[in-house]
Symmetry: C2
DNA sequence: GTGAAAGCGCTAACAT
DNA sequence: ATGTTAGCGCTTTCAC
C-alpha cells in the first residue's frame, strides 16, 4: 500500500495534499534542498536568516522528515532492536527498560519483538531487524543449545557485523571466539552457588531445586551453581531433589503440590526463579506449611513480586536494567566504525548478589516430605 | 556514519565485502532486478527455475533486503508504534503485549517508547514514529488535560492522518469529533462505580479513596465512578476520605501510613490501582490491621500482584491485552486507504468487571481511624 | 554560506 | 514470465 499519491489536480484551486518533502520546503523557502537538509540536521553552518525561513516553511507545510529516505541516503537507521521471549515477564521487562532508556539516550528508537520462547521466531526477528538496519540487536535471556540453532545464530551475527551492526547476547552464553557478538552476562552460576550456600549455612541439607527448563542455558547454569555449592560442602546429591521443569508460576505451584504429596523430604526449596517461587509458595500455603518455620524458600531474579510475597522472599538480585543499558552502550560505542580489530567483540559480566529477606530459617525439626508428620 | 565498507574478517583472501544489493543478486543470478524483487516478495508469478536461481544467489551473497529502501519505494513502513509511560508497569506491559502480538500478526514490527510520564516526550515520540512512517501510533494510558497539549496532539493526529497513518488513543479520552483518531477505551468510570458499590453492598459507608494523580484522566474517571456510587446510595461525600495522589506503590504505603496515624475513620479502602493497593496493604500490615477483618481493601486493574497479595485482592479487571490487540486491529483495518469519509475515525469501548477475591468483608465493629482503638 | 547533481536500494509501471 | 526504467525523499560531495 503506497502513501497516498493523491489523484488529480481537481477542479478547485486546492492543491492535493501530498506529503511535503524537502523539495517543497526548499521551494517554499526559496533555497535548495541541500540547505533544507542542513537546517533540519543542524549540523552545518547556515545563515541565521536562511535557517529562520526554512524552519518557517517547514512548519507551515507540516513537513515531517522521512526517516527511511534519510536512512537510505546514508546515516544509520538510528534503531536498536531487542528480542525477548515475553514482555510481561518482569525479568525481560526490566532489561527491556534498560535497553529502551539507553537507546533513547543514544538518540535511537527501539524495535521490540516477543518470541514467546520460539527460537525460530527469534531468528526471523533478527533478520527483520537487520533489514531495518538496526545498529544493534539485543537478544535477551537464556537460549537452547541446539547446534543448528547456534550455527544459524552465528551466521546472522556475521551478517550483521558485515553491515556494521552488532548482535548482543544478553544473559546467554557466547557463541564462541570466532563469532562477532557483544556479550553482556551476569553471574548465573555464582548467584545460585551463593544462595544455596546461604541455605546450607543455615543448616539445610535437603534442598529441593525446583523449576527451570533444562534446555535453557539460564536454568542449566543455576542448577550448576546449586550443585557446586552442595558439592563443596560435601553434601550428597539426591536426584529426586532436583526437579527442573518450567519457569512459570503454575509449574511451581503444581510440581510443589505433587512433591508435597509424594516427593522426597526436604527442609528448603530453591526455586529457579521468583515466579516459580511464588507458585511454590502458594502450594506450601495451601498445604498448611509455613515459610520459613516449616520450610525455607528462596528464588532468583529479585523481581518485584519477591517483596510482595509473605514472607518476603530471599532471592538473588540481578542488575537487570543495568544489563540492558550496558548491552546497548557497548554495542553502540564499542565499535564506532573505528578500524579496530575487524569485528569488534566485547564481553561484560555483571555480578549478582543475594538479598536476604524473611523466607529462610533453620531447618524444621521434622523435615517436610513423604512420611513426615504434616501439620494441617 | 556509513555502513562499514571495510576489510573482511579474517586474513584470508576475501574480496571487499560491500553489502549485497538487488543488483548484485540480479547479476549473480543472471536476471533483472525486477525479477529479484518479485522473488523476494513472492507476490508475483515467477518461473520455478528462475526463483530457485535467485534464491540461491541471494543466499550465497548473504543478501539482506534494505527495509528503508523498500519503504521508500512505495510499500508501507510495516511498523506500528506504541508509546507508554513505563514498560515495567504491568498495566502497560499487558497492553504492549497485545499491541506487539497483533502487530506481528499483521506482519509488522513494533517500535516502543517510554515517556516516563512526560507529555513532552510523548509528543516527540509521536513525531519520531511519524518520521518512521509507522502505520499506526498507539498512545497508551491516561493523559493530562492541558489545552496546549491537546492542541499539539490534535495537530499530530492530523499530520499522521494526512500521511495515511492513524493515531490510536488507548485508554484515554478522545480528542473530539474533529480529530482523526481511533479510540479504544475501557469503562474506567463504570468499574470504579461497580467496585465501590460492591463495598457499599457489604455494608461499608466510610470508604477511603486512595491514590491516582488528579491530573490524569484515568484517575479522574475512577474517582468519578466512586463518587457516583456513593451518591446513588445516598452516602455523604467526605472530602478527607478522598486522597488522590500518585499511582505508585510507595505512595500507597506512605499515605496510608500517615492516614492511619492521623486520618479520618474508614472501614474500607479503594486504591486507585493494584499497585497502590499493594503499598497500602503493607502499611496496614505493619499497623497490625488485618484485611479484611479490620479493614477491607480493593484495587483496580487486576494485574498479577493482585493474586499474590494475601489476602488476594478484590479488584476491577480490565481487558488489557485485548485493548492492545484491538488498538492495532482497528487502526490497521479500519482505514485501509479506502476512500471512506476523509479521516477514518473509529471508537471502541471495552467493558470492565470486578473480580471478587478475599480482601473484602463486612465493616469492622470498630471502624478504623483516628481515635479508634487500634490492635497491635 | 549555498546550490547542483549524483546516488542510496528498492518497487512498480510499462514494455517485451 | 521477465527486462527497462523511473522515481521514492534525503544526504552529500563538489563547485561556486
Amino acid at each position: 500500500m503506497a502513501r497516498q499519491r493523491s489523484t488529480a489536480p481537481g477542479g478547485s484551486g486546492h492543491r492535493e495534499q501530498r506529503r511535503a518533502t524537502v523539495v517543497d520546503v526548499a521551494k517554499h523557502a526559496g533555497v535548495s534542498t541541500a540547505t533544507v537538509s542542513r537546517v533540519m540536521n543542524r549540523n552545518y553552518p547556515v545563515a541565521a536568516a536562511t535557517r529562520e525561513r526554512v524552519e518557517a516553511a517547514a512548519r507551515e507545510l507540516g513537513y515531517v522528515a522521512n526517516a527511511h529516505a534519510r536512512a537510505l541516503a546514508g546515516s544509520s537507521g538510528r534503531t536498536v532492536g531487542i528480542i525477548v521471549s515475553e514482555l510481561i515477564d518482569p525479568f525481560y521487562a526490566y532489561i527491556a527498560r534498560g535497553v529502551e532508556r539507553e537507546a533513547t539516550a543514544g538518540d535511537r528508537l527501539c524495535l521490540v519483538c516477543c518470541t514467546q520462547g520460539d527460537p525460530q521466531r527469534e531468528l526471523a526477528f533478527i533478520e527483520l531487524m537487520h533489514e531495518r538496519r538496526a545498529d544493534a540487536v539485543v537478544l535477551v535471556g537464556g537460549s537452547v543449545d541446539d547446534p543448528d540453532y547456534r550455527a544459524e545464530l552465528s551466521r546472522r551475527a556475521h551478517e550483521l557485523a558485515a553491515d556494521g551492526a552488532k548482535l548482543v547476547l544478553c544473559g546467554r552464553p557466547s557463541l564462541g571466539a570466532g563469532v562477532p557478538t557483544v556479550d553482556v552476562e551476569y553471574d548465573n552460576e555464582g548467584g545460585a552457588f551463593a544462595i544455596t550456600d546461604h541455605l546450607i549455612t543455615r543448616g539445610h541439607r535437603r534442598i529441593l531445586y525446583l523449576g527451570g527448563p533444562p534446555a535453557l542455558s539460564t536454568a542449566r547454569d543455576r542448577l550448576a551453581g546449586h550443585r557446586r555449592a552442595l558439592e563443596l560442602r560435601g553434601i550428597e546429591r539426591v536426584p529426586e531433589l532436583e526437579q527442573p521443569g518450567a519457569f512459570g508460576r503454575s509449574f511451581g505451584y503444581r510440581r510443589m503440590r505433587e512433591l508435597l504429596r509424594d516427593g522426597p523430604e526436604f527442609t528448603a526449596v530453591f526455586a529457579a526463579n521468583d515466579i516459580v517461587a511464588a507458585g511454590a509458595a502458594q502450594a506450601l500455603e495451601e498445604a498448611g506449611l509455613r515459610v520459613p518455620q516449616d520450610v525455607s524458600l528462596v528464588g532468583y531474579d529479585d523481581i518485584p513480586v519477591a517483596q510482595e510475597l509473605r514472607p518476603r522472599l530471599t532471592t538473588v538480585r540481578i542488575p537487570l536494567e543495568e544489563m540492558g543499558r550496558q548491552a546497548v552502550r557497548v554495542a553502540l560505542n564499542g565499535g564506532d566504525e573505528d578500524d579496530w580489530r575487524a569485528p569488534t567483540t566485547g564481553a561484560l559480566r555483571l555480578g549478582t548478589h543475594i538479598v536476604v529477606r524473611d523466607s529462610v530459617g533453620p531447618p524444621a525439626a521434622a523435615p517436610h516430605g513423604r512420611g513426615s508428620s504434616r501439620q494441617v
